[in-house]
Symmetry: C2
Subunit: 291 residues, 2 copies
Amino acid sequence: MKNENEQPIGVFDSGLGGLTVVKQLQRILPNEHLVYFGDTARIPYGTKSKWLIQRFAMEDALFLLEFDIKLLVVACNTASSSALPILQNRLDIPVVGVVEPGAIAAVKETKNKKIGVIGTSATIGSGSYTQAILNRMPEAEVLGQPCPLLVPLVEEGWLDGEVTVLTLKKYLKPLMEAGVDTIILGCTHYPLLEPVIQRIVGPQVKLIDSGKETAKAVQKILKDLDLLNPKVKQSEDQYFVSDSPEAFSRIGSIFLGKQLPKVERVDFDRFLIEKSSSPLLQNLNEVVHAE
Amino acid sequence: MKNENEQPIGVFDSGLGGLTVVKQLQRILPNEHLVYFGDTARIPYGTKSKWLIQRFAMEDALFLLEFDIKLLVVACNTASSSALPILQNRLDIPVVGVVEPGAIAAVKETKNKKIGVIGTSATIGSGSYTQAILNRMPEAEVLGQPCPLLVPLVEEGWLDGEVTVLTLKKYLKPLMEAGVDTIILGCTHYPLLEPVIQRIVGPQVKLIDSGKETAKAVQKILKDLDLLNPKVKQSEDQYFVSDSPEAFSRIGSIFLGKQLPKVERVDFDRFLIEKSSSPLLQNLNEVVHAE
């Protein structure tokens, strides 16, 4: 058993997007060892139900707990929006999501108290950002805009160009018409679109990168709990995925801004069958029938 | 136990797309009872690995076998491309995919022997259409074009308009420059884009709807095996999904061209844990490590 300070930080996302959070964590917490899990077998989460996202998130957390992590980062806006309370409730380590840090930064930044949020259908549908903002600034006007095409556009590598610009203009129009002065990039894929979004909305609108704010929040929690790692990191961070490690390595380097070390595939279905009696996975099975 | 002719046909897809095949089956085989499974918890398949797609397909088939089906339709180009041989090998009922019927129709249709295929990354990457065409017309020139943005565009409901037209023009350009006279719509979502694709490529290019061809193939197999249902259908077809039945009902009606009856959610993770010792699911667990 390692000294608690030297235990790793666990980070999960539905796929690649969380690597933009890893990039920020590596930047400001260079001593910390990270273990990343990308659930590429079940990506995307953003179009799925709250019920299912909670289950997936708990399963992802269960995998990272195998590494004896000292803190868990939910580097996925969709999972943070739908599953953070249940994770914080069931796990006995600190769990940090990306929504609260992004909301706090937006509240600090806005002058006219009109804040836009862009994200997946699930993130916007959950109202999590709106709630987090209104808790701190009840008089704020929050406009959420689901942008389901942006993740596929980023993953296709179309980070600029006519299609991307037109799609963004269509999505951003209601926010600009409402006169927001701050927009939260409520999806970990969106920092890659930041330059083109900034160009469309103009320099007077402030863009909030939730991933960057989350890294700062993690730093603060580790400091407050006296859990920072004082030792210089000796080994590479570890990366695991539930499918397609080669594609993850290739596209992941764009998100991380550098080459990834070895990415390992986990047989996640087998892992879940082995762990099916874990208390963390109980009572997540509610079946709802629709008419 | 029902008379074999009266047993249902099982149809699965990663999500909604297979409903375009259901629509064609209902049109030409009105007596047949259909049981549909859409694996919406793990949609999309098109960006995932061959290994994983084979596993998902076998799990989907296992679910439909619970209904004592007489024939299985793999109403998903991605699963047909990657998993048809293993399904046909392990199941003791006829298994019909969408690739062969589409390829056969294209070979019949082409005059200049230049055939284009559009589909997901996994479908095009598998080379399944190319292989199926070359088996019948070795001198054909086949051009595959992965179009990962089309499924999200259809699911966003952007079936026409500037973004969709520009995206399609970008994807179709290499096919038009190569002078194809026939294009296979190698994804069950694409029939919804047929009018705009036809407008872009012009009336001289023949579009092949794999779903329509598949329904004809099913009819022929049932006839040859003397398995057609002679009785007029008394009950509704059944629809099951692994997530979000409400969204499936709502968007599904666009694919099916009419309202859906009750759509039921299956707790698929629990089903898989119960069935984990099924012989059909063994030796699908190969874990590959990537550098």
